[in-house]
Symmetry: C2
Subunit: 325 residues, 2 copies
Amino acid sequence: MQRPGEFEIIRRFFSGQRVADVNTEIGIGDDCAVLNFTAAARLALTTDTLVAGIHFFSDTDPTRLGHKALAVNLSDLAAMGARPRWALLALTLPENDPEWIAAFAQGFFRLAERHRVQLIGGDTTRGPLAITVHALGTVDGRPGVKRAGAKPGDAIYLTGSIGLAGLGLRIRQGAYLVPDEEALDRLEAPQPRTDFGIRLGEFASAGIDVSDGLAADLGHILEQSSVGAEVDWESLPLSAGVGRYVADSGDWQMPLVAGDDYELCFTASPAYAQAIASAADATATPVRRIGTIRTGSGLIIRRRGRPVELSRSGYLHFVSGEARR
Amino acid sequence: MQRPGEFEIIRRFFSGQRVADVNTEIGIGDDCAVLNFTAAARLALTTDTLVAGIHFFSDTDPTRLGHKALAVNLSDLAAMGARPRWALLALTLPENDPEWIAAFAQGFFRLAERHRVQLIGGDTTRGPLAITVHALGTVDGRPGVKRAGAKPGDAIYLTGSIGLAGLGLRIRQGAYLVPDEEALDRLEAPQPRTDFGIRLGEFASAGIDVSDGLAADLGHILEQSSVGAEVDWESLPLSAGVGRYVADSGDWQMPLVAGDDYELCFTASPAYAQAIASAADATATPVRRIGTIRTGSGLIIRRRGRPVELSRSGYLHFVSGEARR
């Protein structure tokens, strides 16, 4: 019998509860939960853990690690269309190294201040290095942007570019030898798309952040929206370095399956093309259309005009033999 | 130079932020943070991490561990006078063992259902066994019960009894040989004082849950309230087993310094004695007066009528040589 992966674990063991609170608008299974205290004030909540040796190299610069621990949570809030407001920090440290902690706090607070996030609590414990951040934001005036909601005919958009963190990982592992600071920056200090995310509710029919790889994360939108999609490989926004890596290695799948880019993938009716361009312009966020939602199910990737098969999808905890950063 | 302990870490590195959200009523430094969306709906938030080998034995029954991971967070909400409503669960697992996870989920959900807590999100990651729960509750109609607020002349109360988890730990370590199921239950499956905690705001001037030992936790109330206190050792509520342990070992300090009991310690004006007795009665919670708040600072313990000195206070992460469960 095959052992269940993360999504199966969640489904099998943590979806059968019998409690349903009257103020819960969105529960388990999206980028954030949403509580609706009043129609004008919805609270979006998310939590993400980074474990040394699994999600990051143990010798990662602590300033970058403090940044990333908050960034991955702000990315979930952005995907929900929420404005980040508060965070709690659960920090497990193997030893008490004041310099390390000071550097970690500097990275955490620098990002927090940039997006006006207040740290309101936490827990410091001894143990193997791991960081769990819990982030809260508000969604004003409209419901949060869910994974469900994409409709046939909707355009599929992506912010920024993908494959950079995957490239950074390969460089960090010594598996690819062309230096690329931009790729290492993406891997170790990703920038959440917070400013654009706050605008997402104006036009997006569905949205997610790209943490497990575009194919896997867009796949969640398709499943939860009961639709299919077509994406042209040539439309994928790739940095010059990622383009060179693909040309050098022939590994055209990497930008679709590598995780940790923390860009936003969302769908919208074609009627919103101008509104999306305005929001992109106002927030200085590159946004590109990469495909179209179709009826049916599953993701079709076209490369050089022909459908291609992915030999691997996004990382699944416990199932893949490939260690995750 | 002495290395800083947990409280010093928090103070030094995590209190200097420059962001203050307009809806933050209580930030870092209490049992919970409190956000005030409306006067009638305040949200209390807390997070606590349990790490294998530090906070619990790695072979702990997973059903009990699932219970305890939630219980320690509900205890923080109870100390704030909040009604628990929601939880998020960040679970880091070394391997994927469906039986273990099913048992963990059973323990978590059984306690969640008892107190009407809905799990609304989480994260499952691979790594050394650790559990971070984030719990949220509401405080209706009045501000949360803080650590600050105790006044000279206030009575000091304690729910239940203390020292049981400390006794359970000694039994589990083989350091004390008299079997005591009640003590092991307290250590591995503490019951948060949720029903009584919801009433706390009716009468308490200050409150805290006893997680690091009564002397340390009452010490936080005294510091943050700028007062002192006197406690009679003979008034401490001890189980028969804890009483026997003290008699056998001569270790009278254990009930004051051992952690993990998750009882509530609170202060209240003597005028509320009847209200406290009514709340205790209505929620079937043993509550006993153990001392009095005084002017000045520091905790004076009297035993057999004479002030005694504690040779150790509650556990400090990183500082104490004594491993924590």
